[in-house]
Every structure is written in structure tokens, then in C-alpha cells.
């Protein structure tokens, strides 16, 4: 997102909006209600697009006392404004502010630095901010600090210094866990997992997951990410069923808007491969979704190859899209699909022929030798892929008559799987429900509440998950 807009909007409007947010933050500190702070942070999405060095400088001069500006060292990044600062500052000269406001300004500065690609500045400033918030230790800062940590990690990633921030993040996670700071905890866990997975340190990521609990109250965007990482770790460790259910959760929790398209594509890519590895074939309609259509083309041909058990087509696709698959970090998983392709091929043959020589199987599946074909078919029989008998002396495979699937326990298992999915869905929806504040009676408060609700809904539609596209590639 390049937000260095050239619009010549009067900074006054932006500053007025910032003042609104500052009021909200103060209200949040005074009333101990975190939802006001949440609203202020959510509102930054609209400010962000209009930020530039001048606006930031003017706003800092108008809204922050001088010593706070000096403490944060904001002058490094802002331009002295040619606007009459005193005129703005005169009507509300502030002598002291709560630290939340300072950190809020720090956050805005980080956004500005990120969007204007001032990465070196961003790295130093974000580490200073992290130090500052750790020194402050205020519960009312929790939501803001989660954001600060996010950009701290992001800047380090851009600077390719991810390995160095790990100790800081781990220490911060420990502190956040002890203080029940759910928001920061969720963000930090995701950042650490991302950090480990970036270096392919799956065993360390797995250990981190095993030793921590993800806070249940975390927002949807954070839990979507967490489930995605979980799914990835489990897929590497061959636990495909668990991985698939995690990825489905991630897809469901991810917001459905164009801003998070990158995340959704990444999850879908992984989910398709994992689903294929479990032996299922993804829905065709999935590949027609407009925002997935283009990204999933290579995956579609892989799916087709697996579905019909065509080994040659599989190898072709793999060779053609190697670079894409490597970039998506799905290459090694796709390599594992090879034996699924063979399995499907054997199943097709077993359905079509009641008796076939091993030599023909070998030719049809393009295997190295008849001996190999024999072992492979024997393994397929043992794994329950097909129901057949081998005759070694005469060198053929004889398929047994198809058993009526309804005489087995298979339908019961499928039934159970579906019911538990529905029940789980229901339970989660119940958990997500919110009830109105029942104790307020007066009409005027009700109106105010409704107004607030409407505002929140508007902001939600506008600025939800604004930072999703800051993540870079998944």
C-alpha cells in the first residue's frame, strides 16, 4: 500500500480526527474499557492513507507536549510544517498527556515509515518504542503494544534480521502471558511462528505451539493466522487430517474482503495440497472463485493429475511450476503427492479390470519394473486402497467383487464426521454471539448506543484487518 498521497488536504482535518482518537484513548484509560482503545486503533486505517511527514509534524506539535515529542524523537521523521502551527496549537495547548497518547503517536509514525518504505528508520524507531512500552508496563497500553510489536517484527523482516528479534519477542511473550494480555500474546505467538516457519524451523515452531496456549479471546484475524501456521506445521509432520481441519478453520475465520486476498490464497493453496494428501479431491467450484482463480491455476492441474491418477501429467505440472511451488513453500508437500497419484491409478485399474497382468499395470502406471509393480500393488492392498488378490506364480492381480459400502462402518464414520463439524460450527457461533447491554433503560442512552453501534459497524467494514496486507508473502 503506498500511502504517500499527494492530496493537498488540509492537515487540520486529519488532526481533528486524531484528536477524536486521542479522546477515545483517554476515555479508555479513565474508564478501564478496552473497547474505546480498539475503536481508536481501528480508526487509524482512514488516517493512515492521509499521513505524511508534514501532517505528522503538525499533529505532533499540536497534540503532544514538547517533552513528549523530544522523548519519542519524532523530529527525525517529520518535516517542519510551513503551516502556521501556532494557530492550530493555540486553541488546545497540551501540557501533559497519558503515555498511551505518546505510544499512539509512535504507532502512527510507524505506519507512516512503513508506507513510505523508510525501513532503516522504522527498525530503529520500532525497537525504541518496544523498549519504551516495556518500561511503561500499563494494562491500558495492551492493544497498542500488540500493534507496535507487529511492526517491530515486520521491519526486522524487511531488514532481514528476523533471527535477532526472536529473544525479544520470546521475552515479551512471557511477560504478556503472565499479565494475561491476550491481544499482545496472540500477536506475538503468530509473529514467532511466522519467524520460525520463515527459517523452516518446524520442530521449534511445533515446540512453541505445544508449550503455549493461544488466547481464546483473540480477534478473528489473529486466530485465522494461528490456525494457518498450525496447519502448516502439522502438514509437514504428516498429520494431514488435523492439518486440514486447522486450515478449514483458518479459511472460515479469515475476513472475506479483497484486502486479505493474499492470505486467503495462501491458505487455499496449502489446504488443496493437504486435502489431496488425505486422499480427497477439492471441490471444483473452489477454483472458480474470482479472487482465487488466477493464483490456483497450477494447483488445479495438480489436482486434475491426482484425480485421474495420471503420473505423466503430474510430473509435467510439477516441472512446469517448480518455481511457483517453491515460492509458495508447497513444493516438498507436492512431492509427497506422487504416491497418491499412483494409488489413484491402481484404484482406477482395479475398478476397471477384474483381472489384469502385472506387466500391464506396470505399463499403465509407467513404473520401472514388474517387480516394483508387484510391491506397489501389494502395498495398496495392505493399505486398503483396493480389495484384490495377487497371484505371484501367474503374475496377475485379481480384483475382488466390490463390497457394498453400506455393509461396512464407512457411512457411520462419514455421518459422524459431518455431525461433529456442524456441532462445532454451532458451538463456535454461540461463543461469538454478543448480547446488548441490558441495564440501560433510558431512550437517550439507547439512541447513543445505537449510534455507537452504527459507527463501529462502519469502521469495521472500512478498516478491519488493515494490516493484513503488510504481512508480505505468506
Amino acid at each position: 500500500m503506498s500511502a504517500t498521497t499527494t492530496s493537498n488536504e488540509d492537515p487540520k482535518f486529519v488532526i481533528a480526527e486524531m484528536r477524536q482518537h486521542i479522546l477515545l484513548l483517554e476515555k479508555s484509560v479513565n474508564s478501564n474499557e478496552s473497547r474505546f482503545a480498539t475503536r481508536a486503533i481501528r480508526g487509524t486505517a482512514s488516517i493512515r492513507k492521509r499521513l505524511n511527514g508534514k501532517v505528522l509534524g503538525a499533529a505532533a506539535a499540536a497534540l503532544l507536549p514538547k517533552d513528549a515529542v523530544a522523548r519519542l524523537g519524532l523530529a527525525r521523521f517529520t518535516q517542519s510544517s510551513d503551516m502556521d502551527v501556532d494557530a492550530v496549537a493555540a486553541d488546545a495547548k497540551v501540557s501533559s498527556v497519558v503515555p498511551e497518547i505518546e505510544v499512539y503517536f509512535g504507532f502512527l509514525t510507524l505506519l507512516f515509515l512503513h508506507d513510505s518504505a523508510a525501513n532503516a528508520h522504522g527498525l530503529t524507531f520500532s525497537s525504541e518504542l518496544v523498549e519504551y512500552i516495556q518500561k511503561l508496563n500499563r494494562r491500558s497500553l495492551d492493544q497498542l503494544s500488540a500493534k507496535i510489536y507487529f511492526y517491530y517484527e515486520r521491519f526486522s523482516e524487511i531488514a532481514n534480521r528476523l533471527a535477532e528479534v526472536r529473544p525479544t519477542l520470546l521475552a515479551a511473550l512471557r511477560t504478556a502471558t503472565l499479565r494475561h494480555d491476550d491481544e499482545t500474546q496472540a500477536v506475538l505467538l503468530n509473529l514467532l511462528l511466522r519467524n520460525y516457519i520463515h527459517f523452516n524451523l518446524y520442530d521449534q515452531a511445533d515446540k512453541l505451539v505445544a508449550k503455549t496456549t493461544f488466547p481464546e479471546t483473540a480477534g478473528n484475524s489473529q486466530s485465522a493466522r494461528y490456525f494457518y501456521y498450525l496447519g502448516r506445521i502439522k502438514a509437514i509432520q504428516l498429520d494431514y487430517t488435523a492439518s486440514h481441519s486447522d486450515l478449514v478453520q483458518a479459511i472460515r475465520k479469515a475476513p472475506k474482503n479483497p484486502k486479505s486476498a493474499g492470505f486467503q490464497q495462501a491458505v487455499h493453496k496449502l489446504a488443496i495440497i493437504v486435502q489431496l494428501l488425505t486422499g480427497e479431491i477439492p471441490e471444483r467450484s473452489l477454483f472458480r472463485e474470482p479472487f482465487l482463480l488466477k493464483a490456483l491455476v497450477p494447483y488445479l492441474s495438480i489436482t486434475q493429475a491426482v484425480r485421474i491418477g495420471d503420473l505423466a501429467k503430474f510430473q509435467d505440472t510439477l516441472a512446469k511450476h517448480t518455481a511457483t511451488f517453491r515460492a509458495d513453500k508447497t513444493y516438498t508437500l507436492i512431492l509427497r503427492l506422487r504416491h497418491n497419484v499412483i494409488k489413484t491409478g491402481i484404484r482406477m485399474i482395479s475398478l476397471a479390470y477384474s483381472k489384469i497382468s502385472l506387466r500391464d499395470i506396470c505399463l499403465k502406471l509407467q513404473l520401472d519394473s514388474e517387480e516394483d509393480a508387484e510391491y506397489i500393488v501389494a502395498k495398496a492392498i495392505r493399505d486398503g486402497v483396493i480389495d484384490a488378490v495377487l497371484d505371484h506364480e501367474n503374475g496377475f492381480m485379481k480384483s475382488k467383487e466390490n463390497v457394498d459400502i453400506y455393509s461396512t462402518n464407512e457411512p457411520q464414520n462419514a455421518f459422524h464426521q459431518r455431525i461433529s463439524f456442524c456441532l462445532n460450527l454451532h458451538n463456535e457461533s454461540v461463543k461469538a454471539l454478543r448480547f446488548p447491554y441490558a441495564q440501560r433503560k433510558e431512550q437517550s442512552t439507547m439512541d447513543a448506543l445505537r449510534e455507537e453501534e452504527r459507527l463501529i459497524a462502519g469502521e469495521l467494514a472500512e478498516g478491519d484487518l488493515a494490516d493484513d496486507d503488510d504481512m508480505g508473502d505468506f
Binding site: 518446524y202 520442530d203 511445533d206 504428516l238 509427497r336 501389494a378 505371484h392 448480547f435 441490558a438 441495564q439
Partner: protein, 329 residues
């Protein structure tokens, strides 16, 4: 350090004598070990390297030297990426030699330990990156094969992810990868053949272990896939050298041998098992459905209560008054 040289000297001698007492290595070797410094470690390592590269190395003696050296290393900055580059390189080489020694003396746990220590040096984010080691990929490939031989497939894949994608075509890495693929497909023939094209003789040690695993795999497949199998064919299928080995293997797995062929009877027993109704599972599932349904019912009741309270709170006509009004009219 210079303040009290005698005391200092004594202290280290005490420490360094410990392994010599334990391992009773020749005194000439420990004579170099008067003071733990980088140069003495280098000297020690050179002796070891010479011993180890002999045509038929005395493995026991080398092992003793290695443990002395490792003790020596702990007094330098062992396993810390902050050490000087020279020291890091030396430690890496010692550990690599240790891993090779462990393979030669068939000590798998020791090999595993060396590899996990080595990984610090292969992936360390030091200030100046170390030059790549020639032995890195041979050793990592061996480690992959070890995981396969021990049937630790999940760990195999975790390790594989850590290898630089550009190195997947590396001769030493490609071998275990193709072995794993053949194993998964069931092309045991190819695993057997891979014995002849191993990238290094150390690989054979693990391939041999792997063959034992594969034999059991083939055995369990054969049980399900064949109704009967002539002993001579079983011999080729299971890669045995004589019919005697086949009958031994058959006895071990509980197969019946009638005449010149093996008859598998396990087929029917499993079929009978399939038809059974899994009662405990059905009961457990049904109970969980009941509990969930109960919860849903409760939730609906709870919603009714909330609705009623809201009704009263906002002074709306309550359902009862509505009802009475209806009666009046």
C-alpha cells in the same frame, strides 16, 4: 590470569586429568594438554585427524581422543555463535569428525548428538557467515537416512524442510529423498537397488538397517495380498539368500508352510473382524450427540429468557398483558 599462574595451572590439570583417568589414554597425548587454548586444541585435533585417517583407524583410541577434545572445547566457547571464526571452524571440524567416528563405530545415539550440535554451526547466524563445509551435506544426508531407518518419517520431513531448496538436487540429499519416495510408494525394489549407488560408504550402514524394516513391510503386505506364495518366490520377494531364511522368517511372523508354499490364513480373520459393530464407539458418539443437543436446547431456552428480560426492561407490553388484553376484547 597472570596473577596466580601456579594455581591456575593446577586447576586445569585437575580438570583435564579426569578424562585421562577414565579412559586411560597414553600419557604422551595428554602432555599437550597443559593449558586449554585454541592452539593446543588445534594440535590435539591434528593428532586425532592423523589417527582417524589411517587405513584402519583404531576407533577406540580415536573415541578417547574425541572425548578429551570435547572436554577441551567446553573450556573454550563451545556452541556459542559469538566465538571467533577460527574457533568456530575448528569446533565444526571436530564435531564433523566425531559424527564420522560415531558412524564408523556404529553408535547411532552418538551420531544423533553430534548432528544436533553441528546444526548450530550449519545454521548459526554469526556476524561473518562461516564458509560452507564440504562435509555438511554428506552428514545431513546421512542423518536423513538415519531417520528413515528408524522409521521417524515426520522428523525426516521436518529435517528436510530445513535444507536449502537449491540443495535438494545435491547428490547426498537426493539419495535419502528418493529412498523415502520409493518407501512410500512401495517400490521396495528401488530401495534395494539404491544400495548399489550410495553416495558414500557410510550410507550402507543405514541402508542395511533399512532393509530389515523393509522386509517386515513386505511381509505384512504379502500377508494381505497373496493367498499362497511358493517359498522360492518368497525368497526373491523378501531378498533372502536361502530357503532356510524364508522358513525362519515365516515362523517368526506366524505363517503356515504347507508343502513348498506359504499359505496365508490371516485374510479371513480380518474379514470377520470387519463385520463387528464397534459398540463402544457408537455409544460414545450417540452420547456426545445427546449432550450437544441438550446444550443447543439450553441455549434456546436461555435466549427466551433474555428476550423476556429485555421485554420487561424496555417497558414493552409483556406477553402476559398482551394475552389479557386479548381476552378483554
Amino acid at each position: 590470569m597472570t596473577r596466580c599462574p601456579t594455581h591456575h595451572h593446577k586447576h586445569h590439570q585437575h580438570l583435564l586429568l579426569l578424562p585421562t583417568l577414565l579412559s586411560r589414554s597414553p600419557p604422551t597425548f595428554t602432555a599437550i594438554l597443559t593449558k586449554p587454548s585454541l592452539s593446543s586444541a588445534v594440535a590435539l585435533f591434528e593428532t586425532l585427524k592423523k589417527d582417524f585417517s589411517a587405513a584402519t583407524p583404531d576407533l577406540k583410541k580415536c573415541g578417547q581422543h574425541l572425548s578429551t577434545l570435547k572436554l577441551h572445547l567446553t573450556q573454550l566457547s563451545f556452541l556459542q555463535p559469538t566465538a571467533s571464526q577460527k574457533e568456530l571452524l575448528l569446533t565444526r571440524e571436530i564435531l564433523e569428525l566425531g559424527a564420522q567416528h560415531a558412524i564408523k563405530s556404529h553408535d547411532i545415539p552418538a551420531f544423533e548428538r553430534y548432528i544436533s550440535q553441528l546444526k548450530t554451526y550449519y545454521t548459526a547466524s554469526t556476524a561473518t557467515p562461516l564458509p560452507a563445509s564440504q562435509r555438511q551435506y554428506p552428514l545431513l544426508g546421512l542423518n536423513l537416512l538415519r531417520l528413515l531407518a528408524q522409521n521417524r518419517i515426520a522428523e525426516f520431513h521436518t529435517e528436510l524442510e530445513q535444507i536449502d531448496p537449491d540443495q535438494l538436487g545435491n547428490l547426498y540429499i537426493k539419495h535419502p529423498i528418493s529412498v523415502e519416495q520409493s518407501l512410500m510408494e512401495g517400490s521396495y525394489n528401488r530401495v534395494w537397488n539404491s544400495k548399489s549407488n550410495v553416495p558414500g560408504e557410510e550410507y550402507l550402514f543405514f541402508i542395511d538397517i533399512l532393509m530389515g524394516t523393509i522386509r517386515n513391510e513386505i511381509g505384512s503386505c504379502a500377508e494381505k495380498a497373496y493367498e499362497r506364495l511358493p517359498i522360492s518366490d518368497a525368497q526373491t520377494l523378501l531378498y533372502f539368500k536361502s530357503a532356510k531364511e524364508v522358513t525362519d522368517f515365516a515362523a517368526q511372523r506366524g505363517w503356515t508352510v504347507s508343502g513348498s508354499s506359504i499359505v496365508f490364513v490371516t485374510q479371513q480373520a480380518t474379514d470377520a473382524g470387519k463385520l463387528e459393530i464397534p459398540a463402544p464407539k457408537v455409544i460414545r458418539d450417540a452420547l456426545s450427540y445427546a449432550r450437544e443437543l441438550e446444550r443447543i436446547g439450553e441455549f434456546i431456552r436461555f435466549r427466551c429468557i433474555v428476550k423476556l428480560t429485555l421485554w420487561f426492561q424496555f417497558n414493552l407490553p409483556s406477553p402476559i398483558t398482551l394475552f389479557s388484553r386479548e381476552r378483554n376484547t
